[in-house]
């Protein structure tokens, strides 16, 4: 192997349990986003456009769909002779094997993999954020500052700050405080979970951390605070632009709605095309009764109903008289005649019958702790019988059968 300046490791092992039924059969990074993408397309696209040609993807929870999607890495130009994309599940060793215990442990278990490329720097990424970022700029900053760690940071709303790692920097950009998910945040500058480490420094820290029985082997909770305590050079890299953690049903819905706003995430920039594996369907067809406004629609769809302020994925059918508003309809779903769908995420392959009402009423029958902000969710491949009604904040995981109304 040739020596690499910088390689990327994407943490894609989390279940993403707060996405409810959406992650029942697949890992969060494989969840669909924005009409034709999956969440992991964003970090992979950023790598491809930032000139990073070696990427390890750490998988653990239900990796089948993610592995199949990544394949040879060809859609991201990551099928390389020297480098490329590697899916890295935990594995057995001579004496024992174990799951990835925490984010730092996942990297620890792949030290040999990283050493093979003998990189100067390692970029650690999450597989569950939507953003466009040039990592090459961040790397230049890391080198310029002669840092041990550079953490990308972004201002967040103060009331949400306690969900993030919160940090403060001095005038030179050097990090002076760092607290993971503090109850009383000192600032609203949040860590984006994007780190560049100088590899020999990180390698040493990972080994020490592994030998510390009290550690939970997590970057935010253990590695970063310890390096800060011992006086390592930690720098904050200011990121400006759209960035969204899509960890919950509501934030996933919001982030999809955001692409309908012109000032959020520009997907049209030809220099930063979001790369993905195309479903390869024929162009979409709008029937004679269709009425589509303020929406995203992609290949393979047949739309004969009304669609407003919604994101429609490939191969979706929306039949005559149906009305889809403020919603996300994922690949291959069918919305039957005269059904009304409001503020709902319809999972891939779901079949909604005729004259159904989703997300319109205050109704408790299917209410779920995963759904908030009035957003409802229908699981993948679920069938909902004609005339069914599903209230707001509901989650449908099983078929709804017809019968008495």
């Amino acid at each position: 192997m040739n020596k690499k300046e910088c390689i990327a490791m994407i943490l894609a092992g989390g279940q993403g349990s707060r996405l409810g039924v959406l992650t029942r059969d697949l890992a969060k990074p494989a969840v669909q986003y924005g009409g034709k993408y999956r969440i992991i397309d964003f970090p992979l696209t950023n790598c491809a456009h930032s000139g990073i040609d070696t990427v390890g993807i750490l998988t653990q929870y239900k990796p089948l769909e993610l592995n199949t999607y990544i394949g040879s890495g060809q859609p991201w130009d990551l099928d390389r002779n020297d480098g490329g994309v590697y899916v890295l599940p935990p594995y057995m060793r001579e004496t024992a094997g174990e799951w990835y215990k925490g984010t730092a442990n996942a990297i620890y278990q792949n030290i040999e993999f990283i050493d093979k490329f003998n990189p100067e720097y390692v970029l650690i990424l999450s597989g569950d954020h939507i953003y466009k970022m040039n990592y090459a700029d961040m790397l230049s900053y890391h080198i310029e500052k002669n840092a041990d760690v550079t953490i990308a940071m972004i201002p967040v709303a103060m009331e949400e700050a306690s969900r993030f790692g919160i940090l403060q920097t001095d005038d030179n950009g050097r990090i002076v405080t760092f607290e993971e998910k503090p109850a009383k945040p000192k600032s609203n500058t949040a860590s984006m979970g994007i780190y560049i480490f100088t590899w020999d420094k990180l390698r040493k820290e990972l080994i020490e951390d592994e030998n510390d029985a009290a550690s939970s082997n997590d970057f935010g909770k253990n590695i970063i605070p310890k390096m800060l305590r011992q006086g390592s050079a930690l720098f904050g890299y200011k990121f400006e632009g759209y960035w969204k953690d899509v960890g919950t049903v509501e934030s996933l819905w919001q982030s999809n709605m955001d692409i309908l706003e012109s000032d959020c995430l520009d997907l049209y920039n030809e220099d930063w095309t979001i790369l993905s594996k195309s479903p390869l369907e024929s162009p979409h067809v709008l029937g004679k009764n269709s009425n589509v406004k303020d929406s995203f629609i992609t290949e393979g769809c047949y739309i004969d109903g009304t669609v407003k302020h919604s994101v429609i994925f490939d191969g979706v059918s929306i039949e005559k008289g149906a009305e889809v508003v403020d919603s996300i309809v994922m690949s291959g779903a069918v919305i039957g005649e005269d059904s009304r769908i409001y503020k709902t995420i319809v999972g891939p392959g779901a079949k909604i019958g005729r004259k159904c009402r989703l997300g319109l009423d205050e109704e408790d029958k299917y209410k779920s702790k995963y759904c908030s902000g009035g957003v409802s969710l229908v699981g993948a491949d679920v069938t909902i019988a004609d005339g069914s009604a599903v209230g707001r904040n509901s989650m449908i995981t099983e078929n709804i059968k017809g019968g008495k109304r």
């Binding site: 924005g34 009409g35 034709k36 060809q74 859609p75 997907l267 049209y268 095309t273 979001i274 790369l275 993905s276 195309s278 390869l280 369907e281 024929s282 162009p283 979409h284 067809v285 709008l286 029937g287 004679k288 009764n289 269709s290 009425n291 589509v292 406004k293 303020d294 929406s295 995203f296 629609i297 992609t298 290949e299 669609v307 994101v311 429609i312």
Partner: protein, 369 residues
């Protein structure tokens, strides 16, 4: 079908698309919102598990090369066989006589000889269809014929086409040209299965004797020996030969049965992907009965039209009965009816272009109006 190879004849000889064809090989003609004509026959071969495909081109093959690339979208970027793009043989001046099909086939003799397959499908590139070749090759194998030609039944005969007369055993008894003999309406679609060694020896013989008419000297000569069988393709298949048929066949896509038989079958029509964003509909969009590819931004009125990838329709613009190719911009309050617009055109604010369905207006590549 490891024993069968494909040869696609990508030449403009049989087609007259005027301004649209000036800039490209007909095989690379955009069709149906995101495809190129060659995608249909190439996908047909790939869907029949043919892994050795040669594309013989004449001049103007830049856009075809750009489209085919390594053959990856058709799974033809392979270690063993795969996609071969075969540009014209250098001695063009000497061999200019005769028809292009014969010239191209002669020029790739060594490629056919070198390949180990026993059968070869020779196919034109200007058909729109979703065809599998397994059945016809199976019939060819079983019959032991030298050539099996694919025909379709039509209701009337037209000039410029060739028709096959068959006996009760599907053996071809004669070829008929143009609109004569009203009874025989089996139109040749330009797809032939050959036993490869027969094709090679026929081509070599013709080369020596200076014979250079593919239909007459290869197919016709074998018909007179009684060694040609017919195979009837009864699915949807239309040949693009001129602007009129290009427009008509495009408009056929609005028939949902035809559209489904082409695109929603188990066998997909494969093409190069561009990673365009989904199409964005804005608040003033009013789109009905239309076929829209990805990457468009639509804020105007579109009816009965096909928009290719990356078309912008500004507020108040009206597009009816038209075919608008990749990356065109139709500005505010412009009006288009029955127009075929090639790639990268710009229609400025308020401009109007109105053709007729039987006489569409063609706007050449990169024009600004």
């Amino acid at each position: 079908m490891m024993d069968t190879m494909g040869v696609i004849i990508a030449c403009n000889d049989k087609v007259n698309l005027g301004e649209l064809e000036r800039v490209r090989s007909v095989s690379a003609m955009p069709f149906g919102g995101r495809y190129r004509l060659i995608d249909f026959v190439l996908s047909g071969m790939v869907n029949s598990n043919i892994i050795n495909v040669g594309v013989a081109t004449d001049y103007n093959y830049q856009s075809l090369l750009d489209h085919l690339g390594s053959g990856k979208p058709w799974d033809l970027a392979r270690k063993k066989y795969g996609l071969f793009i075969l540009p014209p043989f250098a001695r063009h001046q000497e061999s200019i006589s005769g028809d292009m099909e014969m010239n191209l086939l002669t020029g790739i003799l060594h490629y056919m000889k070198r390949s180990s397959q026993k059968y070869v499908i020779v196919a034109d590139c200007n058909n729109v269809c979703n065809i599998r070749f397994d059945d016809v090759v199976a019939q060819h194998r079983q019959s032991g014929a030298d050539i099996t030609l694919i025909y379709q039944k039509t209701d009337k005969r037209v000039d410029g086409e060739v028709y096959a007369a068959l006996d009760e055993n599907n053996c071809v008894t004669g070829l008929h040209y143009g609109n004569g003999n009203k009874n025989c309406t089996n139109r040749l679609v330009g797809y032939y299965v050959f036993t490869k060694e027969v094709l090679v020896s026929l081509l070599e013989k013709c080369q020596l004797q200076g014979k250079n008419n593919f239909l007459h000297d290869i197919i016709g000569a074998t018909v007179s020996k009684g060694r040609v069988m017919g195979y009837c393709f009864d699915g949807y298949l239309r040949s693009i030969t001129d602007i009129d048929s290009y427009y008509k066949v495009s408009m056929d896509l609005f028939d949902s049965r035809i559209r489904r038989s082409l695109f929603v079958a188990d066998d997909k029509i494969l093409t190069k992907t561009k990673d365009k964003v989904p199409t964005r509909y804005l608040n003033n969009a009013e789109v009905k009965s239309s076929i829209i590819a990805d990457g468009c931004i639509i804020d105007g009125i579109v009816e009965n039209s096909i928009l290719f990838r990356g078309v912008t329709v500004e507020k108040g613009a009206v597009i009816k009965n038209s075919i608008i190719m990749q990356d065109c911009v139709v500005s505010e309050s412009a009006m288009l009816d029955s127009v075929i617009m090639d790639k990268n055109c710009v229609i400025r604010k308020g401009k109007m272009l109105v053709g007729q369905p039987d006489f569409p207006i063609v706007v050449g590549k990169r024009r600004t109006i």
